[in-house]
Subunit: 147 residues, 2 copies
């Protein structure tokens, strides 16, 4: 919920402004990662003007607080869907419909850390994005009479 994000912003001493609320709303309603200019365009359709520089700055802030994430494989931003979860947040992106699922798993982090340790590397943060078919698209790809 957007309210959670707003509470976090307040708790850290950041002001709750119109542009910040509007960016949160747009991201909340999005089905896929949005670029800063996507966000600006969607807001404009609602008659709300926000300068793109402002959107960049808002996204920088949100990402630093983990309220949003930047999805590197598509270059867009998404609202964090699992704010409470421990472990690095990971994405699965459907290569057909673009749908994005976020998850976190501490065991995967441990597996990666262990592997890195063997190479002398001390991991602080994991970036992980998988592409493949989501449940829906996979079902369709098996034909209408599927399983």
């Amino acid at each position: 919920m957007i309210q959670d994000s707003i509470r976090i912003l307040q708790a850290r001493g950041y002001k709750i402004t119109q542009p910040r609320k509007q960016v949160l709303e747009v991201l909340q309603g999005a089905q896929k990662p949005l670029s800063p200019y996507d966000i600006q365009g969607l807001l404009q359709k609602q008659g709300k003007y926000v300068n793109h520089v402002t959107i960049y700055r808002i996204l920088d802030l949100f990402c630093s607080l983990n309220l949003t994430h930047r999805v590197l494989s598509s270059g867009g931003f998404v609202k964090c869907a699992i704010e409470s979860k421990e472990g690095c947040h990971r994405f699965m992106v459907c290569s057909r419909c673009g749908a994005l699922q976020e998850f976190a798993d501490e065991e995967l982090c441990r597996d990666e850390n262990r592997f890195a340790q063997n190479l002398g590397f001390h991991t602080e943060y994991h970036l992980s994005e998988s592409s493949g078919l989501c449940a829906n698209c996979h079902k369709k790809s098996e034909g209408p009479e599927g399983v």
Copy 2:
């Protein structure tokens, strides 16, 4: 080695041109990911002019053949260091010195696939970049008398 890449290009019917060899050489000598314009700049220092559009196209080709990879967290390109390895190629980027280590591990892929399956997702490709301290920088951070 560059020769390996050249052999792969030839085997697939691509011509061995000056720009392609030069881009390979620059990437081979690099200690960190390079942007297309970085590459152009380095070549220019050697008195070799290659148009940036050409470099973009060469990198597209190389990446499609897995001769190079795009490192998303830094936005640059690196020559593939483990061309023969099975499994998705992964990176560890040192957050202090920028050094990059490439590796692949089929078990990590299986772990990720298993997890995705549980969420109904059928993975085709993994993108994985970790950041942390490389062996060298970690040693230094423990002080000169460190282990």
